[in-house]
């Protein structure tokens, strides 16, 4: 093996998995080009790369869903030309996907042993529930679960559901667990739990491949980082060289100063634009919330998932019912009975779930962009296609949406470009307040930077921007002020001088922020 960075002591242990010269082409694209890597028992590999770098293809090959064109996959000393799904599972490779594959209507135990339930004797083949519970208990203990085996999966948080997936992986005696973007939808505290679980797996000599866009998490948990770029190995970093800048450099082939403040406002913020007073939401109907967003600022909205941020955003956008309280825009009280009311007043939402609520995947770029403002693209109630295309073309070039034409179905675009379409439809309508819920989730670094730039440009044009984000670097790097929510209430608002990961985290769990002097060293 030609890994110069592998110490002699480590290479003495036989790798559990090694890939050698793996190449995979799809019609028109080379997805993987002579890629090699290896994973040793108990090793945590951080696998990073921009979207389209070849990570998904690599996962498909390891899962046995697709075969490489050339190259060798050696699992546990046995060489294969390609794996089948059965061979992959049989050799102890388990996946935990970003989109979880759980049956929400079943309980934890039923999910973990789905299709492999212990049966009672007799012709009826009834499930032996007590034995099932016995089998599940130790698995849950190993992942540090704080929920019971008969809890319905629907009642669990996202992190807890991921633990169920990991327990499922352990139940098939997994020797390699591949976590695909596991933290992208997790809040800070739950991410910690997941990272703990990874350490526990490592302690049992189970290997982990950890795929993430959140580089600081990779930094914390990985023993070695493998960077993919354009289907090729861009480089590997040994433990002592793993740092944010090195990874980014390898990922994009140059240095990007993402850690610094992404954008700063050109001028002081204006007066209050959107003002919520004693607003109560379905998540915490007993807790009234006050929140002000000013013209020309980006207000970061941090907090744990489930703290009620998304629900508040949905109330401000008129999608959810408001349980009391009032909302004013520039001093005028709003009705907000529906999203249509919010849109009419210039309050727009870029929702959390792009594919389900942000855009219509089956419609073209132009049709998506004109949809909220269709009457303006119509004469006598008849849609003018040329007006639609004109608007869409303008937005396409302004935002740099990469697509063959504005007639392209949005379902075929990358995540970043889809998000730009969501933004484009609102930018075409002169927003007064723009609410963005996790605007860069699942989007690669290049597109992220563009979206930050757009948000800043909006704020500089006097728009009040409210950005919900669970990505700490993003919240601190982009916001002008940060509001933190804890269990349905605003636990604090940080001005720029008080920005620090620690302060945000303390507020998110309901503690007081540290005084300004003490923070200096912590950041």
């Amino acid at each position: 093996m030609n890994y110069s960075d592998v110490s002699i002591a480590q290479s003495a242990i036989a790798p559990f998995l090694s890939l050698d010269g793996v190449r995979k082409t799809y019609p028109g694209v080379v997805a993987l080009d002579g890629f090699s890597m290896e994973v040793r028992p108990g090793e945590v590999i951080g696998l990073v790369g921009e979207n389209g770098a070849g990570k998904s293809t690599l996962m498909k090959i390891l899962g046995g869903v697709t075969r490489p064109d050339t190259g060798t996959i050696t699992v546990d000393g046995v060489a294969h030309d390609g794996l089948t799904v059965e061979a992959s599972i049989g050799s102890g490779i388990a996946f935990v996907h970003q989109e979880l594959n759980l049956f929400e209507n079943l309980d934890v135990a039923a999910n973990i042993f789905f299709g492999r339930e212990p049966l009672k004797a007799g012709p009826l083949k009834l499930v032996d529930r007590s034995k099932l519970r016995e089998m599940v208990a130790p698995l849950l203990k190993r992942v540090g679960a704080n929920f019971s085996a008969d809890a319905p999966v629907a009642s669990l948080s996202l992190a807890q559901q991921q633990m169920v997936e990991i327990a499922k992986a352990l139940s098939i005696k997994a020797r390699l667990v591949i976590l695909d973007e596991p933290t992208s939808s997790l809040p800070i505290a739950e991410t910690e739990k997941l990272l703990d679980v990874i350490k526990a797996l490592k302690a049992e000599a189970i290997s982990v491949i950890f795929i993430s866009h959140r580089l600081h998490e990779v930094e914390r948990v990985a023993d070695r980082v493998v960077v993919l770029r354009d289907g090729m190995l861009a480089g590997t970093l040994p433990k002592n060289q793993i740092n944010h800048d090195q990874m980014v450099k390898l990922m994009i082939g140059r240095m990007l100063k993402e850690r610094e403040r992404v954008s700063d406002s050109a001028h002081a913020p204006g007066g209050t634009a959107l003002s919520a007073r004693a607003v109560r939401t379905s998540a915490y109907p007993e807790r009234p919330v006050d929140l002000d967003v000013r013209h020309g600022e980006i207000l970061g909205f941090a907090g744990l998932v489930g703290s009620g941020r998304t629900e508040l955003a949905r109330v401000l956008f008129g999608i959810d019912e408001r349980f009391g309280g009032s909302v004013t825009l520039d001093g005028k009280t709003l009705k907000l009975g529906s999203a249509a009311d919010a849109v009419a007043s210039g309050i727009f939402l870029v929702p959390e779930d792009r594919k389900l609520t942000g855009i219509l995947l089956d419609l073209s770029i132009a049709e998506n962009i004109s949809l909220p403002n269709l009457p303006a693209h119509a004469k006598h109630q008849l849609v003018s296609t040329s007006a639609e295309i004109a608007t869409a073309e303008k937005q396409k070039s302004n935002l740099g949406i990469k697509a063959p034409s504005v007639a392209t179905r949005t379902g075929t675009l990358s995540g970043g470009n889809q998000q730009k379409v969501v933004l484009a439809k609102w930018l075409a309508m002169n927003p007064k307040v723009m609410i963005l819920d996790e605007p860069t989730r699942g989007i690669d670094i290049g597109a992220k930077a563009e979206i930050y730039g757009l948000m800043r440009a909006l704020a500089d044009a006097g728009v009040a921007v409210l950005m919900i984000s669970s990505d700490m670097e993003e919240v601190i790097g982009v916001s002008d002020r940060i509001a933190v929510m804890h269990e349905g209430q605003i636990s604090g608002i940080l001005e720029k001088d008080d920005f620090s990961q620690e302060n945000v985290l303390r507020l998110a769990v309901g503690k007081k922020p540290l005084p300004a002097q003490a923070v200096g060293g912590a950041q």
Binding site: P27, G28, A339, P375
Partner: protein
Amino acid sequence: MSKKDLGLLVLILVVGAVVTAINPRFLLPINLANTSNLIGLFGILSIGQAFVIITGGIELSVGSVVALLGTLFIDFIAVRELDWPLAFVLIIALGAIIGLVHGWLITRLKLQPFVVTLCGLLIYRGVARFYTADGTAGFAFGQNFPDLEFLTAGRSYGVPNSFIALIIIAIVMWVVLHRSVFGRYLYAIGKNEEAAKYSGIRTGRIVMAAYVICGVLTALSAIYFAMYTRSISPASHGQFYELYAIAAAVLGGFSLRGGEGSLIGVILGTVLLQELQNLVNLLGIPSSLNFAVMGGVILIGVLVDQQWGVFRARRQMIDATRRNVAGAPAE
């Protein structure tokens, strides 16, 4: 015209040619006139159904509505002796109210369309039977309504006026569905109602409007059917008509999930269904097999359409791979 519609048109012509070859009476003016009359009646019904299906909904009560409103219409003009234009307006208004109630239950009270309209199917049929005391609604001997009869059951230049009515309605509804803001909203809601709502569309109102359109067109066709049969026994009149309408839409390329289908498609679907009915009669197939023939053709049609889609996708992939391989040595 989409490729799908074109395929359906070709199928209609081929079936027509085959039937003609076996029994030339197919092309007799009297047969064509009768068939196009039925196409007119069922076409109006099916367009209404199409507007509901495009939103991802379904309207199962249309057959019963045809029975109830047809009964009421004949009762209004024959027994209660209302002026027929007034009765006409009343029936259309009743159709709109039925649609509005269905739409309201579905969008405001969040009941499932299948459940709401299934209950409608039972309720309206029962009411119609009760209204006539399970008898028959019909005209007394010598009762005539020349203008009304001309407009509904008459002919212009040999073409049934019901068919002409269908053409006019189809043109108007084509513009509404394929060119108007409302039509775009319907498609958007059918594709993804949540996303449409997040784009600021008042989806509830739009869906409700679709049910009202369906109710109005069903009421209109109820009048046409009433004037065509001239006597109605509510126990059987209009039975299964909702299924004719749904079948026409499905044959015409509509997806029951919503968001897919064209107005030309549903018209062609209606034409094919009536052609099949005619075929059963003309070819001497026992009329008891009527439904079986229809069901079989719809099944084959949907199957061919779906398999064709799979085949085309595979072909495209093979072609792309071949191009890729051909280009590979250059690397």
